[in-house]
């Protein structure tokens, strides 16, 4: 602009603006770009193909597969339980509702390592459930079911909370309208409630998926990271670093980071679509 009077505010504060911007960039670099970048650089210097080979040699692919299966099972289970739980907590009034509502956040509040330990105490050797489990011939701890159990617990709140918020905001008018039009409760759920909460459900499921892929502490304690049986993508990285298989560790970490980025993009799109529709 060739204006005779430039914006005084702008000129005066310019140095501060630059300083603030530099600070933010430096902080982000320190926390985000440098670590992520060095992962990429690490993989690149070892050579991407060599890295893939190393992951295979160290038994990384079955571990990644296990993680993906556990994540998918968690999403499905917590999708169903989360929707049912949200409807129960938001739409019904019963004794102990407030307590239950509070307990739902417990998995977020306690350390996953503690969660794992608690599951060991219940399902492990000498645990409360041992007589029942041995009678049935089931083995849970240090076996695949424990991974699912721990991950489902840790990711319980996401769908439930997201769907609860949506349900509260929706109110009950549309459901009441469906009832006066002759819809059964099943028809009302499938035709009215579910379509209305679909964005919350997808959002919560994406959070669940991301958290399930990254879960470490609980699955380590309860599963023991036994190679070829209970190791997952995250425990694989841990073991690989420990055993000085850096290329395999870098590779797996980069894969998980890429997946997380993809989820972030999905979440952002969901948020934008939701904003458009309301």
């Amino acid at each position: 602009m060739s204006d005779a009077r430039p914006d005084p505010f702008r000129t005066r504060w310019l140095p501060r603006r630059v300083a603030l911007l530099a600070l933010v960039v430096a902080w982000m670099a320190l926390l985000l770009f440098v670590p992520l970048g060095s992962l990429g650089v690490g993989v690149w210097t070892f050579g991407p193909l060599a890295v893939l080979d190393q992951i295979g040699e160290a038994g990384g692919w079955p571990a990644l597969g296990r993680t993906v299966v556990v994540a998918i099972v968690s999403v499905v289970l917590n999708g169903v339980v989360g929707v049912a739980g949200a409807i129960t907590l938001v739409r019904h009034r019963f004794w102990g509702r407030r307590l239950l509502d509070m307990l739902v956040d417990l998995p977020l509040a306690v350390s996953p390592v503690m969660t794992g330990l608690a599951f060991l105490l219940v399902f492990g050797r000498g645990g409360l459930a041992e007589p029942l489990l041995s009678a049935l011939g089931w083995k849970i701890t240090f076996a695949f079911p424990s991974l699912v159990l721990a991950t489902v617990f840790v990711t319980l709140p996401f769908v439930l909370r997201e769907v609860s918020h949506v349900l509260v905001e929706l109110g009950t008018d549309e459901e009441a309208a469906a009832a006066t039009l002759g819809a059964s409760s099943r028809q009302t759920f499938w035709r009215i409630t579910l379509p209305n909460i679909r964005h919350g459900l997808t959002y919560g499921s994406t959070l669940t998926l991301a958290r399930a892929l990254g879960e470490f502490g609980a699955v380590l304690v309860v599963g023991g990271a036994i190679e070829g049986r209970t190791d997952t993508a995250t425990t694989f990285i841990f073991t690989a670093v420990d055993e000085r298989h850096e290329p395999a560790a870098y590779g797996m970490a980069l894969i998980l980071a890429a997946l997380s980025m993809a989820f972030l993009v999905v979440l952002e799109r969901l948020k934008r679509r939701q904003a458009r529709e309301t």
């Binding site: 549309e174 009441a176 309208a177 009832a179 006066t180 039009l181 002759g182 529709e277």
Partner: protein, 348 residues
């Protein structure tokens, strides 16, 4: 299909929303539940529809008790205050929903939806989502949706409150015409007296969970049964006094109080537009202010020995000739009503 509501009571915790209300609604009539907000009108409507259950009393539709029936089995159309349109469905899908869940054949469903779209003037909007409609259009979609399954009864909860004043006037006329065409027994809830009187065949006045009065608009207007009704239906003057020799006298105003014992405290209520006043010396009062209220004029005066008096006239009324602040006036009361004085009179 007539509706009988018999002695229903509904409590929410310790709050009594509806208290022993009985209503009798004749087949084919359009009735209004009128009263201030929070007085229990909507709760009565929801109890009739089955969305709420009464703690006591019963609802009889067409001679049959419906208390054991869920809302979905009552076949009652309900129009919600904020319409409650299904936001993910188009106009046509919304209207067809009630037929679809009843598994009506596709062809008859399509025809019925098309008929309703014609009836309610929604042509061209079939594929719009509710978020793409104006308030008045949403209202009509909500009515069409409620009418689609051919309900025995149509209930409307504050149907005009969510649209602006101009559209509201049009929608009132439209609802009355629609009712004259269809003759579905209908009840609507409103807190606006002009809405109730201009649209309804019969008005039920509800206050604090109780039925104050029912009747045709004229009956209620001409003969308010309680002090609340008299006060609710427009501006009034209130004077308290004691009966003496068969009359209640307040300043210059005298109203016959037959069969009331001497010394009984009574309250006199004079409607602002049931008064005549004209310029006269010495008169019985003095004009303080003259206010223009659009097509009406309000005169504020002070009556000797009684206190303030408010009167309303059409703007061109010949009675207003010479009326100006400071002038003396004579007053004639055409209709006054006496009510027993509440034991605990409300503060100023």
């Amino acid at each position: 299909m007539g509706i009988r509501v018999e002695h229903i009571t509904k409590r929410f915790g310790s709050f009594v929303a509806v208290q022993d209300v009985s209503l009798q609604i004749r087949p084919g009539e359009l009735s209004a539940l009128l009263g201030p907000s929070g007085g229990g009108k909507s709760t009565i409507l929801r109890i009739i529809s089955g969305l709420e259950t009464a703690d006591e009393g019963r609802v009889v539709i067409d001679g049959q008790s419906v208390d054991h029936l869920h809302a979905r089995a009552r076949n009652i159309g309900f129009v919600f205050q904020h319409y409650a349109l299904f936001r993910h469905m188009t106009v046509a899908q919304n209207i067809g929903f009630g037929l679809e869940v009843r598994k009506a054949p596709k062809e008859s469903r399509r025809r019925r939806v098309a008929d309703l779209i014609d009836l309610l003037g929604l042509q061209g909007l079939e594929d719009r989502l509710p978020s793409q409609l104006s308030g008045g259009q949403r209202q009509r979609v909500a009515v069409a949706r409620a009418l689609a399954p051919e309900p025995k009864v149509l209930l409307l909860d504050e149907p005009f409150s969510a649209v602006d004043a101009q559209v509201r006037e049009e929608l009132r006329r439209w609802l009355r015409r629609l009712h004259d065409d269809l003759h579905v027994t209908s009840i609507f809830v409103t807190h606006d007296q002009s809405e109730a009187f201009s649209v309804a065949d019969r008005v039920f006045i509800i206050n604090e969970g109780r039925l104050e009065q029912s009747g045709t608009p004229l009956e209620v207007l001409d003969d308010p049964a309680t002090e609340f009704v008299a006060r609710f239906l427009g501006e009034v003057n209130v004077y308290d006094g004691r009966v003496h020799e068969g009359f209640l006298r307040v300043g210059p105003i005298e109203v016959a109080a037959r069969d009331v014992a001497d010394g009984t405290p009574m309250r006199m209520i004079l409607r602002a537009y049931d008064l005549k006043l004209w310029r006269e010396e010495p008169g019985v009062g003095v004009v303080r202010r003259v206010l223009l209220l659009g097509d009406r004029v309000k005169v504020e005066a002070v009556l000797d020995g009684a206190g303030p008096l408010f009167a309303q006239f059409p703007r061109r009324s010949s009675l207003l000739k010479g009326i100006e602040p400071g002038c003396r006036i004579a007053v004639e009361v055409s209709t006054a009503r006496l009510y027993p004085l509440p034991a605990d009179p409300p503060g100023p």
